[in-house]
């Protein structure tokens, strides 16, 4: 080439396959049934549809009304979780609405030929625990469920997001969804987490930084050395709460940790299929020169155990801090919402967070109820007794997690500690089943939402990590694991 034309300004990248792409773009493009034109949405193929009892009944009703079958029962799986009790699971469900929803799911699953894991079944549990545990959640797939915390599955490098009931019906009937593409945001966390600082603290810090709307319209990709060092369980905890930052989805690129977690699980590819799958999965990580629509950086070394003081997951700070003073907030909307939150939470500005007494500790929910979470909790409470007057509930995410924990003797550690060891389900994450806070009760909870009344009418929720929950259960006030070690040293 002797002469070159001047490069045009603002050149659009050519829509060819060699254009550098992010993880999310690669997975999206691989699922395009049809590209939308003139502002029409893309039609995206769905690899895995998870179903539970609350958001599916009307969808099946719609299918019946139109005489439509479920297109791919073999890509659909259902479980019972939101309404299920976590004690006396062999007895009929006392609450009538709950029972009806569960019985409706059972009837629909039978009529439409959907695999269902019912209460009492070893694979029953919170829908977002069940998919990964079975090896159904895999890199590079699309996953939907009528539940906002579907973002959990993005930890494997899947595009996974929650949908509404009409969309549930749409996926049941067509195995596709019309969707406008998301924008991409990189959240890079570099460095090493201090002992006692966990994935939960990372995501609470991210939400506090970008706000509960900061992720709106984006799929978040968590990157950096601190993310790479996390287990799959930790990555799931982070992706799970992407929705609390307003994003519909969160993702982590698949790597050796992902493959090791998947290999040998019931639905993971086997033999030659495994090799083909891994070869494909290795092509998924974001290309070096791909461009994100937005970028956020966080230093892992500075992070500390985190806790929320308010009534949305963005109202949080480090556990060693104090209850903030709304009067110092410059944004009027922020100030007003903080004032309302403190009133609801019955907290006074300036109070050291570690002086806040709790009535209950909830260890569970799709954010933190995998066996690794239970191990972390157990490691701290082992050989100790809970603080007097504090109710401690430990609820495994699935019946299988319960069995695994029992095989390791964790149940004994919990009950010796004075905790209730329950059966699997959403439990006290939301006030839809019998496990609820009484009005005015305060709870340190490993779940994901601290909205007013979320854990029961008038209940007050502080979101924390499993290790902070454990330390709090021992001392009866919000505490970090290092507080316990200090006591032991004395």
């Amino acid at each position: 080439m002797t002469e070159t034309a001047p490069a045009p300004q603002n050149q659009q990248p050519a829509p060819d396959a060699r254009r550098p792409k992010t993880l999310a773009e690669k997975v999206w493009d691989a699922h395009l049934v049809q590209q939308g034109e003139d502002g029409a949405p893309d039609l995206l193929y769905i690899d895995l549809h998870l179903v539970h009892e609350v958001t599916s009944p009307q969808a099946y009703d719609g299918l019946r009304a139109e005489g439509r079958p479920v297109r791919r029962p073999d890509l659909t799986i259902a479980t019972e979780d939101h309404n299920t009790p976590t004690v006396d699971i062999d007895k009929p469900i006392a609450d009538l609405t709950s029972r009806t929803q569960i019985e409706t799911l059972r009837r629909n699953a039978k009529e439409f030929g959907i695999r269902l894991h019912s209460l009492g079944d070893v694979e029953q549990g919170i829908v977002h625990i069940v998919g990964p545990q079975l090896g159904l959640t895999q890199p590079g797939i699309t996953v939907v469920c009528g539940d906002s915390h579907t973002s959990t599955h993005g930890a494997f490098g899947a595009i996974a997001f929650g949908i509404g009931t009409s969309e549930v019906e749409h996926v049941l009937a067509t195995q596709t969804l019309p969707l406008q593409p998301f924008k991409t945001m990189a959240i890079t966390v570099e460095g090493t987490l201090k002992p006692g600082v966990t994935a939960k603290d990372v995501i609470l810090a991210v939400i506090a930084k970008i706000g509960t709307n900061g992720g709106q319209g984006y799929v978040l990709e968590y990157r950096g050395s601190a993310i790479r060092a996390l287990s799959m369980e930790g990555r799931m905890t982070i992706c799970n709460m992407s929705i609390e930052a307003g994003a519909r989805a969160g993702m982590v690129a698949p790597d050796e940790t992902t493959f090791a977690y998947l290999q040998g699980r019931p639905h993971a590819p086997k033999g030659e299929d495994w090799d083909a799958a891994v070869a494909y999965w290795r092509t998924l990580p974001t290309d070096d020169d791909a461009v994100f629509d937005a970028e956020v950086f966080l230093g892992a070394d500075e992070l500390e155990p985190f806790v929320t003081w308010g009534t949305n997951p963005g109202q949080g700070t480090t556990l060693s801090g104090i209850v903030p003073d709304p009067a110092t907030m410059t944004d009027p909307q922020q100030r007003e919402s903080a004032e309302r939150a403190l009133q609801y939470m019955d907290l006074t500005p300036g109070t050291p967070l570690k002086e806040i007494k709790v009535d209950a500790v909830f260890m569970g929910s799709c954010t933190n109820s995998r066996v690794e979470d239970l191990r972390q909790f157990a490691a701290i409470v082992k050989g100790r007794t809970k603080a007097e007057g504090v109710r401690v509930m430990v609820v495994p995410g699935s019946a299988r997690v319960r069995l695994e924990a029992e095989a390791e003797g964790l149940d004994k550690i919990f009950t010796d500690f004075g905790a209730e060891w329950r059966f699997a389900g959403c439990s006290m994450c939301l006030g839809m089943n019998p496990d609820q806070l009484a009005p005015g009760e305060r709870c340190a909870s490993t779940s994901n939402r601290n909205f007013e009344g979320r854990q029961g009418k008038g209940g007050r929720t502080h979101l924390v990590s499993p290790v902070v929950a454990a330390a709090t259960a021992i001392r009866g006030t919000l505490s970090s694991p290092s507080d316990i070690e200090a006591e032991v040293l004395v």
Binding site: V33, Q34, L43, Y45, D47, L48, P57, Q58, A59, D61, G62, A65, E66, R68, R71, P73, D74, L75, T76, I77, T97, T100, Q101, T104, R115, G135, L136, Q138, I141, G164, T165, S166, E169, H170, A173, T174, Q175, T176, P178, P266, H267, A268, P269, D273, W274, A276, A277, Y280
Partner: protein, 200 residues
């Protein structure tokens, strides 16, 4: 979804503005597990007032609603549309609709036509003069006829087309069914299925 071309039915005046979806269907009805049978839930609180229009026998079997501005604002609940549809309404006219409500309506085959405030008042007056009269909606010409007066109404071209063709979202997607089948043919064999593992 049934194609919508023309419809003639009893005209019902709802002489209020800003009827949000909470008024159309109160939250307590959202606990139900069905997508049909919401007819009793429609305007449930308003219907407790004896003089509410739906309690007037003259409008029994009403199917075309004439409402003031800002009908269907507020929460995104699809149940609001289901309730109107289950009660028997085929079309609602108002000078302004809540966006999400209007979108949901189009998906469920409920026609939402925009007419001016004056035109709504004309219709209200016509109905008041002759309670129980019918109106005719012609979607092919986008006109509404009541007591001899023809009124043009507005509806976006895409929704109109879908109503005329009787296509809901799913119906539309299924028009591309061969593409879905073709896509499925190209999926890698190792992609996961939920079939019990022993049966693979």
């Amino acid at each position: 979804m049934e194609p919508f071309t023309t419809h003639t039915g009893v005209a019902v005046p709802l002489t209020r503005s800003a009827v949000d979806t909470d008024q159309i269907i109160p939250a307590v009805y959202l606990k139900r597990v069905t997508k049909t049978g919401f007819d009793d839930a429609l305007f449930a609180h308003l219907r407790q007032q004896p003089d509410f229009v739906l309690n007037d026998p003259a409008f029994a079997g009403g199917s075309i609603l004439f409402a003031g501005p800002d009908f269907g604002t507020g929460s995104s609940r699809e149940h609001a549309v289901w309730a109107l549809r289950d009660y028997g309404f085929k079309a609602v006219f108002s000078p302004r609709f809540g966006d999400i409500f209007r979108g949901n309506s189009g998906k469920q085959g409920l026609l939402t036509g925009v007419i001016t405030e004056e035109q709504v008042e004309t219709c209200w007056a016509a109905i008041e003069a002759q309670p129980g009269i019918t109106a005719t909606v012609d979607l092919t010409t986008t006109t509404l006829t009541i007591s001899g007066t023809s009124i043009p109404f507005e509806i976006d071209a895409y929704t109109r087309w879908r109503l005329l063709e009787g296509l809901d979202d799913i119906g539309l997607t299924l028009r591309d069914e061969p593409r879905i089948t073709a896509f499925e043919a190209g999926r890698e064999a190792w992609r996961p299925t939920t079939l019990p593992v022993g049966d693979r």
